[in-house]
Each structure stands twice: as structure tokens, then as C-alpha cells.
């Protein structure tokens, strides 16, 4: 009896320790995001007095004052947002660049992938499983490998320095084909069979049976693809020479030291859509990640 109680106590104790560790981790994980958001509401002068040292001095220079990391602004102001979004349209332009690169990729990639995934689900032969295996390999290749072919094609087609040089390869990225195929293979075969018996053609089976069945999958894949491309840096740097066309992700790093406050505001604006999507579609995202969980299955 006593032993049991001690054990119980131990259990509670270890659980408490774990909770504490998790809490510490959670603070560490959240802090950068929260700091960026709160700092975007500070006035320019407050930002400068807090972080001026970091962005103005070159490294190794004489240190007179240290930074002052602050969570809560002295005075909440939207002036940074107003300057960024209303007065200087260049940020808005860059934001628009990000949108116009990412959104078509998300939709087109999911569309192309869902059709291909249907093909991989519905018919399985040696050739097709060979192709599927090839897709997996391609999916695993880093940018250092795939960007070179992309560049060569873009050059040959004359679409280098245009948005198409990013959108077109993005459209055919094999990642979502892989993921969607894994989802679709879970659909019971009898369902497809039944549709056929009822006189559905392939296209009808695809649109009326398969797609509705994996609506959740489509959402989660769209989210994953969106994050990937919203965050992109490598492709625009290599494929777009024109500074005008760079997305905000690249442009943010070129902001000069005089505009740190503005940079914080724009950084917040930039993370806003993805955070919104996270809050809205967290369950889809979780499910998408879970199902991407094994390459072999």
C-alpha cells in the first residue's frame, strides 16, 4: 500500500519535471515569433534605442551600449505598418511577388499531383512503380541538384528571369504526388470497383470518388506546399536576376540598418498568412505530416 503511494508520488513528480521541461522548450520555441510580432509595434526611436547597436555598428567595433531585448513595447504604434504598407509601395510589391509566385504553384502542383496520384493508385504495373520510385528519389534530391537542370531548361525556353522559371518547375515537384498517392492508396478498392460497375468513367471516378475521399489530404498538402514556397530563397536567387521580382523573403534580408522598425513590421506581415493558415488548418497540417511519415509504405 505504502509502496504504491510512493510510486504514485514518483509518477507525479516525473510528470511535473517533464511538464516544466516542455514549458521551457515552448517558451524557447515561441519567443522569436512573439518578439518579432511585439517589436513590430514599437516606435522607430524605441527600436533604435534597443537594437541600434546590432544593426549599425560593424562587427568588432567599439561597444558602447548593449541591446535591450524587450517583449512589450513602451508605446504601441502602427506607424511602422503604415509606412510599410501605405507610404512605400515597394514592400507591398515584394509581398505581391511572393503571393503571385506561391499561390499558382500551390494550386497547379496539387492539381497536377492529384491526377498523377490517381494514376499511380488505380493502375500498378512494373513501369509505373518504377516511375513512382523515381519520383521518390527525385523528391529526396536537394536544391543543389535540382536547380541546375531547372536553370538549364529555363534558359533554353527563354523563361529565365521571369516568374515562370519558378512556377513551372514548382508545378511538377514530385513531393505532393508522393504524398497524395499514399493517401489515395488507402481508399478501398471496392469503392472504385463499385463506381465502375455503376458506369463511371475514369474521369468521373476520379472527380466523384477519389477527390472527395481525400479532401483532407488535399488541404494538408496544399498547406505543406505553401509553407515550402512561401519560404523560398534559393530559387529566386538563382532564377530571378531582377531585384524587382524578388519575393519578400529575399528582400527582407536586404533592408538597411536605418529601417529596422520597418523590417520588424514587414517580417510580421510576411509571417501573417502562414500563421493564419497554421491556426486555421493545424489539424490538416498535423495529419499531412503524420501521413508523410514513412517512405516505404
Amino acid at each position: 500500500m505504502k509502496k504504491k503511494r510512493i510510486r504514485k508520488k514518483q509518477k507525479y513528480f516525473s510528470r511535473g519535471v517533464m511538464f516544466l521541461i516542455c514549458a521551457i522548450f515552448a517558451v524557447l520555441f515561441l519567443a522569436p515569433t512573439v518578439l518579432t510580432i511585439t517589436n513590430s509595434f514599437m516606435t522607430e526611436s524605441e527600436i533604435n534605442s534597443n537594437y541600434g547597436m546590432v544593426f549599425s555598428t560593424t562587427t568588432g567595433g567599439y561597444v558602447s551600449e548593449h541591446v535591450n531585448l524587450k517583449f512589450i513595447p513602451d508605446k504601441v504604434t502602427f506607424s511602422q505598418y503604415i509606412t510599410g504598407l501605405v507610404r512605400s509601395p515597394e514592400y507591398l510589391m515584394k509581398f505581391w511577388n511572393s503571393v503571385i509566385l506561391t499561390v499558382p504553384i500551390v494550386f497547379l502542383q496539387v492539381a497536377v499531383a492529384s491526377v498523377a496520384a490517381y494514376s499511380f493508385t488505380r493502375w500498378r504495373g512494373k513501369i509505373r512503380s518504377g516511375i513512382f520510385f523515381f519520383y521518390v528519389i527525385l523528391m529526396l534530391m536537394p536544391y543543389q541538384v535540382t536547380l541546375v537542370p531547372n536553370y538549364l531548361v529555363a534558359e533554353r525556353l527563354g523563361i529565365l528571369n521571369t516568374r515562370w522559371s519558378i512556377i513551372l518547375p514548382g508545378m511538377f515537384a514530385p513531393f505532393s504526388v508522393f504524398l497524395l498517392t499514399k493517401y489515395m492508396r488507402r481508399i478501398p478498392y471496392a469503392l472504385i470497383e463499385a463506381a465502375k460497375i455503376d458506369g463511371c468513367g475514369e474521369w468521373q471516378t476520379f472527380t466523384k470518388i477519389c477527390l472527395p475521399q481525400c479532401r483532407a489530404a488535399l488541404c494538408s498538402i496544399a498547406i505543406l506546399v505553401f509553407i515550402d514556397y512561401w519560404n523560398m530563397v534559393e530559387q529566386p536567387l538563382v532564377l530571378l536576376n531582377d531585384a524587382e521580382m524578388q519575393p519578400l523573403s529575399v528582400y527582407l534580408s536586404t533592408i538597411n540598418s536605418g529601417e529596422i522598425g520597418l523590417a520588424f513590421a514587414m517580417a510580421t506581415v510576411y509571417m501573417f498568412p502562414s500563421l493564419l493558415i497554421f491556426l486555421a488548418g493545424e489539424n490538416y497540417l498535423m495529419e499531412g505530416i503524420t501521413h508523410s511519415g514513412s517512405i516505404k509504405g
Partner: protein, 325 residues
């Protein structure tokens, strides 16, 4: 539905026999749906129709140009028409100091960051699996960095790790000596932290779903037998997690090659030499349009990736074989 298929998989007699059974089932499926040769070719054409948009795109943007890449890699650049030079370009590349530095940095980074992210993700997943309060909130907190674009967070990272930054304030307050984080050998550490911050959540979710799939009876049985938590972890959980470990390792490996993004946003195109990654090298080659070196580097990278992944698969097969059997 899902859980049932999982258990049958687990209980199946063995990989080989399972494969044979699967093949048979596949054949049956095909015969069931299609009768007669004409129907079959029709069916094949239909399947091609569905596959073609994606496959043609992949051919156009990845496969065909990759053939060109191979061609570039084995021919001479200076000659007007291509002269076959064999592995000359590779030799030149291997002798290139910048490439060597980049390869070394990228490999050290991967060698440090990948195991760390795997181990820490397992630890986090195990902690969240044990019954602690606010579990789902923690899960979202840990996952949230994944959704934050790196570009947005770099400012804070600079504030933290600048020579005049917060960490140095903290160090000096405790009597230490300030470190120039981004311009010293500590730079890799900074980037590893950023990498972990970004990727741990994703990996953790993967491990959590892996843990979820472990048959509960097995763990209960171990409890009855009086197994310690530690033993349960090594003998049961890790065995069942091994496919997930494989996947997370591959994923982290790929992500570790993408670290250029973070480095570029933190330190620009010409960072401290400890941060010079392969992608930096590639970018410079793109700028000077050195196709030969680019192609050779791309091919080497592809080969290294394939070898590494094959190796991981072999290790996983060896480690997890008595689970499946």
C-alpha cells in the same frame, strides 16, 4: 480502417512472403478490372493520360535537363564543340578550394544537426506522449516555428547573436567573455540552433505518430513483466520507431542541405568561412555561369545523396527486421 491495415502489416509472415502475396493481389486486381487484350491496352492508355501531365513536366524540367547536366559534366567548356574529357571536370572540382570548404562545412553541419534533431525530437515526442497537461497546446507551440518564414525571424536571431547582442550581454553579465557568434567557429552553432528551432516540431509530430502505432498490448505486457521505462524504450519503442527514424533522418538530411536559406538571410552571400555552404558555392557558379563545375557538383551531390539514403535504408532494414518478421 487504418489501424486494422497497420496491424495486419505487423502480423504478416515476413517481408518476402508479404511481397509475393502483394504481387499476387496486384495481379488479381488487374485481372479483375480488365479482361481481354484490347481492354488492357485501352486501360494502359488511360493510365498514361492521367499520368502524363505530371510525368511530362518532370521529364521536361528534371530528367531531360539532367541528361544535359551529365553531358556538361563530362565535356570541356573552352572548346566550341563539346570534347569528351571524362572525369576531368570532377577532378578539377575536387581540387577546388571553395568546393572543398563548402563540402566540408555542409557535411559537418549535417553530421551535427541531423543526429541532434532526431534525438531531440524523440525526446520531445516521448515527453508529450507521457500524460502531461496541455499536451495539444505544447504540440502546436513546438510546431509553430515551421510555419514562420525564416526571413521573418532572422532579425531576432541577429539581435540575439550579434557581437553586441543579447547572448553576449548575458555572458558578460555572468562574467564570461563576449563571443562574436556569427564571425567565429561558433557560427555553425548558431545556425544549428536555428535549424533545430525550425525543424524539431515537424520531426516530433512524425515520432509521435510513430509512437502511436506501437501495439498497446506489447507495452502493457512489458509493464506486467516489470520492465523498466528505459528497457521498454530500447527494446520496444525504438524498434517500432525505426522506420520513422529512417524517414526523419532522411528528411533532416535534406533540410540540412537547405540550410543555405538561413545562412544567406543571416549573413548574406559572403558569410564567415565556417558558414560557406554548398549552395553558396553553387550560387557563385551560377553567377559566373560555370556550367561544367555546376554540373559536376550537382552530379556529385546526387550520388552522395543516393549513397547516403541507400545506406540508411540498409541500416534500418537490419535494425528493424525482427519487428516486421
Amino acid at each position: 480502417m487504418r489501424s486494422r491495415t497497420k496491424t495486419t502489416e505487423k502480423l504478416s509472415p515476413g517481408p518476402k512472403r508479404e511481397k509475393r502475396a502483394k504481387r499476387k493481389a496486384g495481379k488479381r486486381e488487374r485481372f479483375k478490372s480488365v479482361t481481354g487484350r484490347r481492354e488492357r491496352t485501352k486501360d494502359f492508355l488511360r493510365s498514361l493520360c492521367f499520368l502524363s501531365p505530371s510525368f511530362l513536366g518532370v521529364c521536361l524540367f528534371f530528367i531531360v535537363p539532367f541528361v544535359v547536366v551529365v553531358k556538361y559534366a563530362v565535356t570541356d567548356s573552352s572548346a566550341a564543340d563539346a570534347v569528351f574529357v571524362g572525369i576531368d571536370n570532377f577532378k578539377k572540382l575536387m581540387a577546388n578550394a571553395a568546393f572543398k570548404l563548402a563540402a566540408k562545412n555542409t557535411l559537418t553541419f549535417s553530421a551535427l544537426a541531423v543526429p541532434l534533431s532526431v534525438v531531440l525530437a524523440i525526446v520531445l515526442a516521448l515527453m508529450l506522449e507521457s500524460r502531461i497537461p496541455m499536451k495539444s497546446a505544447f504540440r502546436s507551440f513546438f510546431l509553430s516555428p515551421m510555419m514562420v518564414p525564416v526571413a521573418s525571424i532572422v532579425l531576432i536571431w541577429q539581435v540575439l547573436f550579434n557581437f553586441n547582442g543579447s547572448f553576449n550581454v548575458l555572458i558578460e553579465a555572468t562574467g564570461g567573455k563576449a563571443i562574436d557568434w556569427l564571425n567565429s567557429d561558433y557560427a555553425q552553432l548558431v545556425v544549428i540552433l536555428l535549424f533545430l528551432w525550425k525543424n524539431l516540431g515537424y520531426n516530433m509530430i512524425l515520432f509521435m505518430s510513430g509512437l502511436h502505432n506501437i501495439p498497446k498490448e506489447l507495452l502493457e505486457y512489458a509493464d506486467v513483466e516489470g520492465a523498466s521505462e528505459w528497457y521498454k524504450f530500447w527494446a520496444i519503442k525504438l524498434r517500432y520507431l525505426s522506420p520513422t527514424v529512417l524517414f526523419v533522418t532522411i528528411l533532416s538530411l535534406i533540410n540540412s542541405f537547405k540550410i543555405f536559406r538561413e545562412v544567406y538571410l543571416l549573413a548574406g552571400n559572403y558569410p564567415y568561412q565556417g558558414l560557406y555552404t554548398l549552395q553558396h558555392f553553387m550560387n557563385n557558379m551560377f553567377n559566373s555561369l560555370d556550367y561544367q563545375k555546376l554540373s559536376a557538383a550537382a552530379i556529385i551531390m546526387a550520388l552522395v545523396m543516393i549513397v547516403l539514403i541507400a545506406l540508411l535504408f540498409i541500416i534500418e532494414n537490419w535494425f528493424g527486421k525482427d519487428v516486421e518478421g
